[in-house]
Amino acid sequence: MESSNNSSINDNKNWKISGEKFRTLLNIPKYINSDIEKNKLLNIIIKTATYLVDGETSSLMLLDKNNNRLMFYSVSSNRSVLHQFSFPADQGIAGEVIRKGKPVVIDDVQNYPQHFDKVDKEINFITRNIIAVPMKREKQVVGLLEVLNSKNRDRFEKSDVELLQYLADQSALAIINRDLIQNAKEKAEELSALYELSQASAFANTIDDLFIKAVNILNKIFKVKTTVIINKFNIKQKSKVYKSKDYNIQLNTTKIFLDQTNKDIEYHPREDMDVKNICSMTIPLIAQDEVVGVLGIGDLSQTGQFSEMELRLLSTTANQISDACENIRLLLEEEEKNRIEKEVEIMRDLQQGIIPKKFPEYDIMDITGYNHPAYEVGGDFYDIFKLSDDKIGFVIADVSGKGASAGLFMALSRSIVKVFALNENSPAMVLKKSNNVIIEDSKNGMFVTLFYSLIDLKKKKIIISNGGHNRQIYYSKKENICKFLYLKGRPLGVLEDSTYEEKEIDFYKGDILFLFTDGINEAINSNFIEFGDEKLLSIILENADNNVSTIKEVVIDELKKFVGETEQMDDITMLIIKFK
């Protein structure tokens, strides 16, 4: 090896190069590879280029295919700062190199027509001559490498071009590989994030669980300082905010989150920085075409900007979270349905135990009853109890509402009324006392309408009292008429210290006491016409000579005929007493 600072001018390939430069050449693959951090890599390439071909300075440009611009990098004289700006990729000498894919050497740049002097102005430099070589691998151009202003010589040589091209090829390789590895890493991270999130989604049992996990995963993966998810399902549930550990978003940003009703991602640039970077954004979580929550991301700690990959990943995770939400919601709905069905079953059994199915037999009267709830758990009930050998109490009642709580309330009311009735001979007093106890337990406006008939077998009297129940029917055999029995009085459970009236009726052989709830008279057909208690009155009148079972069957038949097969009826409850 000859030590010489100058390379000899030769057209064939026999040129000479200094030992140091040769060593540098050999070391290129070692130092210029895909493992180095990007800025450091570019720095090394630029410095090596300058050294290798003896120029004053070098620059490197990377092509951004998406917007066809070149990103310009150069190293300042104190060798530390990397300038950066971009310009259109079709301009100037650089444009030419990119287009042709071949090196260009220009000996007199200032007079070169294609010279794009914006770059000069930008870095405060006057270009005398240039070598510009493309950085490419096979057909793929990633940018170009330039060395400017040959030192100690008038012009650059062909050998310089060859050296620079070699460096450029290695650089291109390093850059391409680095990009590939970077993409692969990002893809892997993306998949890993999605996997973690899908695990969280699969095992989260509640929305709370899901969102708390999601917030923490997002925080970890994006290295974001603040993430917050807000969910708002419907008017029943208030908005909840789930924050990551170092949450410090300002209050007004939270307001932005809550206001998000559209389905677009919204970007919120920070006003305190004069950087135009986006450093927070809100992504809607959409399920079933509705915004069910808002994902807020803020304050990326690293670059202060969202890369395309990050945006894509955030969108994907938002979708995943939304889907998971929806699944949980469906699951909870299903569970709720099962729970209600279970509850209903328990209630129905309870009710069946309460409403008497067998009726006591007496010489003086026949009794039958019928209870058919519209839903599994109805609100109607009747009760029969003995106060003494010749005093029997009959209750027919209707609890407001349906379902489990109505069932419970029904059991409660029945017990209270029974206890007072067994100890009180005045039906009006029974209702008054029962009301005052029931009202304490009726928290959500529940009430029960109740008609109480106390039959005295010895005196042959019926004493009646009413608490808001619909008028009942009495058939008098002597007069051969049906009449309505009605007394004023509020339902039980509505107002404290309500008072009630009572009335005495003498009964005779052949008379019928027909007790029922409004499920019968208020039953409607498909034309929204009510069955009506007048109609019921005439049915009883017509069948007054029949026994109680027959009367019962007839009423049920007539009702079914009227309502029609497909219509849903309210609870059908009746208690029929015929005196013998």
Partner: protein
């Protein structure tokens, strides 16, 4: 059950529409509970478009009335049609409520008190 609501000064007017039976009355009930929880004390129910009221529907009014009375609030009903009035009469609840033929008159009645 459709539900429309607006506020006039510190009085909330709730307009109900349709058949107030057991299913849909639950929706109305949660709305009313929420509204009371949020601090509202003066309610007017506009019932002009209520076609039918079941005992579940009645229950909501009773519950609201009792809640508001306890909190020193007021509940008024306006625009009852005949069939709804009948339902209230049958269960002897008609004289439990302040009933007005129109929302305007119900609003006016609030002014007199304050």
């Amino acid at each position: 059950m459709k539900l429309k609501t607006q506020k006039v000064n510190n009085i909330r007017i709730i307009e109900l529409e349709g058949r107030l039976d057991v299913h849909l009355s639950m929706e109305v009930e949660s709305f009313v509970n929420e509204v009371i929880e949020f601090g509202e004390r003066f309610l007017i129910f506009d019932l002009q478009n209520v076609k039918y009221l079941s005992s579940s529907g009645l229950r909501i009014f009773i519950a609201a009335l009792r809640k508001l009375n306890k909190l020193k609030g007021k509940l008024k009903l306006a625009n009852m049609n005949e069939s709804v009035k009948r339902i209230f009469k049958v269960v002897e609840l008609i004289d439990l409520f302040d009933i007005y033929p129109s929302v305007e008159e119900a609003l006016k009645s609030f002014e007199c008190k304050s």
